[in-house]
Symmetry: C2
């Protein structure tokens, strides 16, 4: 018995079936995938206190990945399934040097092209370190040979001049690059001193974000929407899924587990099994009657989830047409945090632009507290400080605040898992929140593998004892 | 009269036609595009002393961009034409942190995953600079506030620990990442000291390559092959093109220009025009009889071109299957220099892998000197030091040494243009070699615009005088 037909639950069903087990997945909703959701024209975003219907034009390109949106190239298990199931992939860009960084408090509120900040930061660091080395300040650490080698490397690292000064570099772009492309190559932008750069917010993870192991290039996305992954998994296990089965009770029993759920007609139904793998997100699980151990109950009750919010719009592709921005992410220190440009369908008339992606924290909580129209209004007001065109061009806004989505009630787990990694008698737990890769589909798969290993070990031991 | 139906010539014809001029392009070959070539099953690569026929399987995915292969997102003119002509684009990856760096002389010849070198380099730089700052070595340059700000920034820049030491970081990946994906998250790789790292060749532009203005993300490529660009331009001006017209003579005349060419039957044919725009590559132009000024002739004769060589193979996608490498470039300091993985068609059975891409220099000259089979053998021998699977899996090798390709005789211009930027009477010159963007299609377009401006100015002045 598997509770929840997200990636963790479907992986469990798929692999345990392959191992010869008979599996049933109870899924509360009418389709599988959990938070792996792609919103298209006519789709409904249901929250506990609102309902939105997606008004995008009907078009294969016009979709909004409301949940997971990218796959690291070393997420080998997920990618293995994509290969096996024929889910077509394309490149996803995190680090677009033509995208922008923005703060109302820096550079007079003018967005800065990422390449300039990055080039100036590299150049400034290389110049300062070269100065220290040349002044023999690091002779305690470095031999004469080390010094010569490192100085040579730094010259290229920062594109320093022959005197190891960071003067000006084409890496930073050319004047007017905010608005146009390759026309102006004559004049270089003046470099900005590191001392100045670091007084802005910009370096705060925005300049290191794509250095992270799970965010480095190459990143990938399914062609046509992330729910292609969910649909592909679902096709494998569709006969194992009982849809619209809302679990109301989970009990350890003497030799297994018993679950009570309301079936699609609302009729209370009981199901027994030797083992139960619970992949229900902790905030939902915490509301379901159970007889778990006190320690398991306590960890479920206290498990924190991100208050992730995303808001998408349909818009003519002004970012490509006016600014030569092809995919990637712009960052702002306003609440909306990120603006995502589509990494596909370049040059088509319209695209889906994500006007706000808030991971968590006070901004996430604040946006979660707003109604759909307020979220859109606030997002447009803030996003238009970055791209003035958002006002007027961006339309059909639709938002999702994961902490208010029924049967999810959170973005992804952020607590350290401990008790839930061990089974409670014959009840096992899985889900991205119980993995080292919280918030990633790869984590959901790994947690499923961990639970399967647990069930199989238990089962083998039980057989041996029997 | 326009000589050469490459991107420069076709841009000239297209835009001058729009301005009301009547244009004819003389093109030596049977199709347009010049060096914008994509090789597919059955295509012939003709060099002055060899001929190869592409043996790839017949498949839309199995193509080899033999010339230009990427478009910077700020190459606005080329991208504008792509938009207007409906050339579909997708993302091209230069900087894949999962690709490899290799030297027979470093790390015992074992390829190193780029992410590790990059993380260790950033970490080492950040640590050294932090040390210098903490030891007050840069107090001449930095205030106390600067120091605090920069130290905080560096901690994140290099992922330093709380004591500003570069200890170990997930950014570098995990043990076993050369071969597998996300399984092992427990143990971090030991960091390597900057002193050691810089003794390898790796930093020599390989770690800075994608920092360059024209190589930064986002890079783009046409879906289906770069010749989609050539075909799209050709469709615009096809009625202006005389194919298989091999120019043998170019003369300034009293009121214009006269060209003699061998038509497709080999018959010498004379054509007169008010203006002539010559886009023929300099090494070819140098062999054509003309009455240019001595200065123009001298610059043509001395114009240097790169000896670019590319060699492609069809292969099962072992780089994805075995190593989780999705697109991008691996680097080696062997002659072959680069290995390119396809940025599209992920997970399909076969792909086209570029086993060698040599820009220029002694390696380029050496490979140009080899025959097709020798090039393949040498490439496989060297590439298998990086990927052992190349021996056995890579097949249907096909090479192009641009310095030996009739009507091109070089990769791209590398001399500084000077005299040729000015017309010689009514003869104007264009082509990538006469632009600030040598080797780029965008440069060819810009040089065409420059020539068009010259013609129009001359024409307006002539009218005023007349």
């Amino acid at each position: 018995m598997i509770l929840g037909a997200g990636i963790a639950g479907m992986t469990t069903a798929l692999e345990m079936t392959r191992l010869g087990y008979s599996c049933t997945i109870l899924e509360a909703q009418t389709s599988a995938g959990g938070r792996v959701r792609t919103i298209r024209s006519g789709d409904v975003v249901d929250e506990i206190d609102s309902m939105q219907t997606c008004q995008f034009d009907v078009d294969d390109d016009l979709y909004f990945n409301a949940g997971p949106s990218r796959i690291a190239q070393h997420h080998e298990f997920l990618l293995g399934y994509c290969r096996d199931f024929g889910v077509e992939l394309e490149t996803f860009t995190n680090d677009n040097r033509g995208a922008w960084l923005h703060s109302p408090n820096a550079f007079g509120g003018q967005p800065q092209v990422a390449r300039r900040l990055i080039a100036d930061t590299r150049g400034g660091i290389a110049e300062l370190l070269s100065t220290a080395i040349s002044q023999n300040a690091l002779d305690g650490e470095l031999t004469a040979t080390d010094k010569a080698n490192i100085l040579a490397m730094l010259q290229q690292y920062g594109d320093l001049d022959i005197n190891n000064n960071y003067a000006a570099t084409p890496r930073a772009g050319f004047p007017g690059q905010e608005n146009v492309g390759s026309r102006q190559r004559g004049e270089l932008l003046s470099p900005r001193q590191l001392q100045q750069i670091v007084t802005d917010f910009f370096w705060e993870f925005r300049l290191s974000f794509s250095q992270g192991f799970d965010q480095q290039p190459t990143m990938l996305q399914p062609v046509g929407g992330m729910d292609r992954v969910a649909r592909a998994f679902e096709a494998q296990v569709v006969n194992n899924i009982v849809y619209q089965a809302v679990v109301t009770e989970i009990r350890k029993t003497e030799n297994g587990a018993r679950v009570v759920y309301a079936d699609r007609f609302g009729t209370p139904t009981t199901m027994d099994a030797d083992y139960c793998v619970v992949t229900i997100p902790a905030p939902v699980l915490a509301t379901i009657a159970n007889n778990f151990s006190a320690a398991h109950q306590a960890e479920v009750a206290g498990f924190q989830y991100s208050s992730a919010v995303r808001i998408a719009f349909q818009s003519p592709r002004f970012w490509e047409q006016d600014h030569n921005i092809y995919g990637g992410i712009s960052w702002t220190d306003q609440d909306i945090t990120q603006i995502w440009y589509p990494n596909y369908g370049f040059h088509r008339t319209n695209g889906i632009i994500i006007g706000a992606y808030i991971f968590d924290g006070p901004s996430g909580a604040a946006f979660t507290g707003l109604g759909p129209q307020q979220r859109i209004d606030t997002t447009l007001a803030q996003a238009s400080n970055v791209h003035a065109q958002m006002t007027g061009l961006a339309m059909h806004g639709i938002s999702i605040a994961w902490s208010k989505v029924p049967f999810q009630m959170g973005g992804w787990g952020t607590s350290d898992a401990s008790v839930l990694l061990a089974a409670d008698d014959n009840i096992f737990f899985a889900g991205e929140h119980l993995s080292l890769l919280q918030g990633w589909q790869e984590g959901a798969i790994q947690s499923a593998y961990f639970a399967i290993d647990g069930v199989v070990d238990r089962d083998v031991n039980a057989s041996l004892l029997g």
